[in-house]
Amino acid sequence: MRGYVRPGNSQPVWLFPFIVMSVLILSVLPLARLAMVGIAAFANGGVIDVLSAPSLWQATYYTVVTSILGTIISLAIGCLFAFLLTLTDIRGKGPLSFFFVLPMMIPPQVTALAWVQMSGPSSPLLKALSLAPPLGSPQPLYSVGGIALLFGVQHAPLVYLALRAGLMTLPRDGVEAARLSGASSLRVFRDIILPLSLPGIIAGAAISFVSCTGNFGIPAILGIPASIFTLPTLIFTKFSAFTSRTFGDVAVLSAIIAMISVAGLMIQDRALRGRDYRVIGLSGASAAFGLGAWRLVFTPLLWAILFFMLAAPFFALVAGALVPAYGVPLTFKTMSLHAFQEILFRQAVTRTAFINSLSLASATAVGLLVVTVLAAYALTRRRDAVSRIVASLIEIPYSLPGIVMAVAFILVFAAPIPVLNVSLYGTIWIILIAYFSSFFAVSLKPVVSAFHQLDPALEEAARLSGASFFRRLFDIIVPLIAPAAGASVILVFLIACNELTISALLWSAGTQTLGVAIYNLDDSGSSDLASALSALVVLMVVIMMLLLELLAKRLPKGVVPWRS
């Protein structure tokens, strides 16, 4: 290696520019293009048409209302689980935590499909139990309330994880001092724990709100049949009535979604500003409260919530896959494996979707890891303004809804790339690049925190002995950050495997992902096939999470999200 940047910083010259280039391509270019198209639409006056359409304001209203209600529901469920599982001596914390995080890993349209199968006059499950409502009863989930409820269920784990991280670092001595002075449990909770856990609650609320505004799977399955359109589903339908103005229209719509999410994040900032939460003392308020007789109330309550969130919808999904035709009650006589046979052995699209989703997910996870190890090295070794800007540019695509990123990438790659003269639109590569952009931050987080824990002396010693950059990277750094890297790969893999929002706009012949395949099967009226495929996907997710659970003992603390 020749030419070092400056003494004491032994990075090769190309490293930081390489990272800056990646960030430019993955983050700056698409967002700048989106802004340009939006501004061009403004300049041409086309924006007046878009902004004056009542459908737009209705969709904006539905987006905000469902997101706010959904956030409130996810806060209620998430906080209940976080407080009980982190601060009390409730039994079965491991399994409870594992199952509670599961809905986050399941594609939202699968959640929606399962709940639809579970309720309303169409439910094969209720029919089998003779509990189905009479003919003509509306499906209660096809409503604003239904969308909000599922938003809450889908995003409660996000609140749980955010709050739990904060609760883990509560100062124990504050609680103990209050206890010794004779404060009741309720008093301790109200005056000490609640104020100190506010940042976690607010952060969880913000993440949940942003995820709700960008969610496509749930309003697509629950909203479209009732003509309730949110902004993401409106963008999707704009593409179903394609005109020369469509690209400009969706750019404007994406900008509105982006503004709503940014407004949510700004409220979070305002809420946290001017408060100082630095605490001293021993952290780790594990099991601060003995539940005593209350355990008999809370344990069944938590398991009952989990039953309704997970077990009942999953059984409904399986029941929906086993009925021979719609409206036929499910009995041992009528049960048929036709849907599973069709999905596994006849439909070419299933295999295509599995191959696409798995290869996209592994390529994203492994490919990003290479970039993130280099990026984390560069960002932790250079601590200047430029690297801080680069770090925040990496964060932006992740904090914007997936559908906004998808639109941005369509705009960038709709025309053939100059010089090379190939068009990525309609190929698998555009989906891959969009995934790289959207999940960069997810992949980076565990790796950066591992770098912060590295002792620089080791690498320094190797450098003084004349080891080259790559030699140091492979022999010293990689082994030390291996556990975090493994976690980063698995997390990105799980998230990318179940993604629908981005691929819903970018798929084409032969590039369907699992999310797209399930949505399409349901859309063509084959909800038995959609249910069968969904059930398989849920099984796959559970197996992957169990693998991660088995690996957890060998990983550093805090890497597997649902473990303490």
Binding site: S55, A59, G120, P121, S122, L135, G136, S137, P138, Q139, I224, P225, A226, S227, L234, T237, F239, S240, A241, F242, P324, A325, Y326, G327, V328, E342, R346, Q347, A348, V349, T352, L358, S359, S362, V366, F413, A415, S423, Y425, T427, I428, V478, A482, P483, A485, G486, V489, F493, S508, A509, G510, T511, D523, S524, G525, S526, S527, L529, L551, R554
Partner: protein
């Protein structure tokens, strides 16, 4: 520690097969998944050297996808097999289709294909009324759906999602005594229009709604499987689409595409449709189980050229009545 990473990397490497991009033929179709797969399987059995990839979506959506690809300079599809001739007529006028004179056309009524060979009808799909067997009223005419007994219990596909639904609305709009006023009366009676025909089937078979406007083969097929539904051909007549096939001018596999057109028009291909429960378009074919005799089905006429001209206006009118986007 090292082992975990290398294991993860190995796992990823083994999974990362380059996805199939190089299929011989790409078909864009609006048939339901199972039918599309069956059609493609039949063709590949007859032509083992040609591989077909297919994509399924509602006609308006699949055409939108195609238009977006054309604008991006990268149309993926070689063949279209979609609901109605009006859509293909529009593509023909835009110069997007390839003319091909299939010898199979001799077995078809001249009204069923384009004289220059730009597209050929493959089957007859009529739109009538399905009802749940537990419904109180047994409808026999379109007018029955505006009766108080059907209040809030009617569902239909949206022309924004289904090609057959658009043709259906345009057909009924031209019938004296029905027209757009009929659609207004339906809306006042609490009818909803959302999604495609699949959604209507689900909603009626499951009892969320009692009556549905829907394409014929879905309920007839489901009834045979035991679903609690019936299908009627209303007394005023039914609208029909003919699911035409056409080759895109941009196709790089025109020879293979021509073979596909020949196959779906051939006796063998038509028998495949018959097995799936569709009325074949070819002369001298039988009708599927559960259908009345062909001459007993009264098909309402539609003027394709006029329908094409009025499409945007009709969609606006429909959206205006049903408040959908």
């Amino acid at each position: 520690m090292k082992t975990i990473v290398s294991a993860a990397a190995l796992l990823a490497a083994s999974l990362f097969a380059v996805p199939a991009l190089a299929a011989n033929l790409v078909l864009y179709t609006s048939q339901p998944n199972e039918d599309a797969q069956a059609t493609v399987d039949g063709f590949m059995a007859a032509n083992p050297d040609i591989k077909v990839d297919w994509v399924r979506d509602g006609t308006p959506k699949i055409i939108a996808k195609l238009q977006a690809e054309i604008q991006a300079g990268n149309p993926v599809a070689d063949i279209l097999l979609i609901a109605d001739v009006v859509t293909l007529e529009r593509l023909k006028e835009e110069g997007k289709l390839l003319a091909y004179k299939s010898t199979e056309a001799a077995q078809y009524d001249a009204s069923l294909y384009d004289a220059d060979g730009y597209y050929y009808s493959t089957k007859l799909i009529t739109t009538g009324i399905m009802y749940n067997t537990s419904a109180a009223m047994k409808p026999t005419s379109w007018k029955d759906l505006t009766k108080p007994e059907a209040k809030g219990l009617v569902t239909m596909p949206s022309p924004l999602a289904s090609g057959a639904a658009l043709i259906h609305a345009q057909t009924l709009a031209a019938v004296p005594g029905l027209g757009w006023d009929y659609y207004k009366a339906l809306a006042e009676n609490g009818a909803i229009a959302a999604g495609g025909n699949g959604a209507v089937l689900k909603s009626v078979a499951s009892g969320e709604k009692a009556y549905g406007v829907v394409v014929d083969y879905l309920p007839i097929r489901e009834k045979a499987k035991g679903a609690p539904v019936e299908f009627v051909f209303p007394s005023e007549g039914v609208s029909a689409v003919t699911e035409p096939v056409g080759i895109l001018a941009s196709s790089k596999n025109a020879e293979a595409a021509k073979k596909f057109v020949d196959y779906v028009l051939s006796e063998k291909g038509q028998e495949g449709f018959l097995k799936l429960g569709y009325i074949p378009a070819r002369n001298g074919m039988k009708l599927p189980e559960g259908f009345p005799a062909r001459d007993a089905i009264k098909v309402l006429p539609i003027k394709a050229a006029e329908a094409l001209k009025n499409t945007d206006q009709d969609l606006k009118t429909f959206s205006g009545i049903y408040g959908s986007n």
